[in-house]
Symmetry: C2
Subunit: 251 residues, 2 copies
């Protein structure tokens, strides 16, 4: 039965009311670690627990609701700072709506995944004072089913790194191959062979293009100045950068 025939034959008020929210899994890399944006809960249920940022959907698209929530939580709502959000990659993750996931009422939550190059620490004193970046391995015991949502988001992020140029959303407009490799290492949680990574990135058409420039200085502990690149126009990587196979992913 589709929406229309339902509406013709049933009274929507015969069913319990449902609320629709968005929750955002916002990821960034800080100090070489993959971090997620969390908010501190002050009220029951789950008072004292941390949760993913989110909120009710208003008269706006779901995408707009997710972007608005992220902007509010990071404090990036005003003019200049809001421009940083332009470089954030946004995509819908999946929807969570089991009865009982919120103890108070039926809430269907559309989860989003956001990848940010380097958003500032939410500033104290603002609306966003209760939000902060947490390394993903420390993000446990979240409120509601947010542990599951975070886990699903991380899995999606790791997958998309293989087939899409998503990693370029985590670095600045100009970056070195080494910086890009550190993104993969942080998200996948394992080191990559620098030489092979270099070869593969440059062999994928449209992944990166040279700026002709060179980094201002070498690495922190030595090494030559690396060449600078910017994101190319590819939307899919071919061939893909497959992560080292793990048998436990297969069965």
């Amino acid at each position: 039965m589709d929406e229309a025939s339902f509406l013709a034959g049933y009274d929507p008020r015969a069913y319990p009311s449902v609320a629709v929210t968005v929750d955002v899994v916002a990821l960034t890399i800080r100090d070489g670690k993959l971090c997620v944006l969390l908010v501190e809960r002050g009220e029951q249920p789950f008072a004292g627990h941390r949760a993913l940022p989110g909120g009710f959907v208003r008269e706006e698209t779901l995408d707009e609701a997710a972007l608005r929530e992220l902007a509010e939580e990071t404090g990036l709502t005003s003019g200049e700072a809001a421009g940083e959000l332009d470089r954030v990659h946004f995509e819908q993750l999946r929807t969570y709506g089991n009865p009982g996931r919120d103890p108070r009422m039926r809430i269907v939550s559309v989860a989003y995944l956001a990848f940010a190059p380097h958003l500032p620490e939410p500033t104290a004193g603002s609306d966003a004072a209760h939000a902060y970046w947490v390394p993903v391995e420390e993000a446990k015991d979240l409120a509601f089913d947010h542990d599951q949502i975070l886990a699903d988001g991380l899995e999606r992020a790791r997958d998309k790194l293989e087939y899409t140029p998503l990693a370029t959303a985590f670095v600045g407009t100009d970056f070195t191959i080494s910086e890009l490799r550190q993104v993969y290492a942080a998200v996948w949680g394992e080191e990559l062979h620098a030489g092979n990574f270099h070869r593969k990135v440059l062999s994928v058409p449209g992944f990166v293009e040279s700026t002709g420039e060179t980094a201002a200085r070498g690495g922190e502990r030595g090494g030559p100045k690396a060449k600078l690149y910017r994101a190319g126009d590819a939307r899919l990587l071919h061939p893909a950068l497959l992560r080292p196979t793990r048998e436990d992913r297969v069965r």
Copy 2:
């Protein structure tokens, strides 16, 4: 802002009410063609148009709602026939909730993807009399944003065939490699090299396992009796069966 702080600070009734539905993109293969289950709309809006089956979410999980809708539309609700639904693969596709996607009220729809080996034609006289299987290339001008939902579902199906043993959900419990190849050909819309496909399927650990049996007869127009296989225990295919690269997928 998360759900709890919203609920504490705002009155949900201050926002327009939102209804939550599920829509199902149910795919099967009939006569070598990929087909989708559609229902005929008798009422405005979109009277005379076809639509994806779907309906309101009740006191059940989203997954249960999608399964229930599919069962109702196909008429597979009673004892024995309902068993056929056990072999249907189900997964959430994505959620569509733009204001205005339904002209009457704000409706957020969680779309599901279903893959069925060979569900019967919905029988006339039942509740499902207005539902039927349509080859996907003939499924145009659907109601609401269902063209988009179908397109997204097809893209997902084509992708998942590469990395997962999903194709086995389209065939019987016992099948030949050739039948499996025809599934790939139907979903991807292109012929595959029989020898290479054979080699690759058998080389992927856990994709298929031999039954030791042989098909009762050869192909319709000749050829030897093929060996029979059943689905293995792999959940991811490694190495993947990548479809022939198309440049237009990349940029």
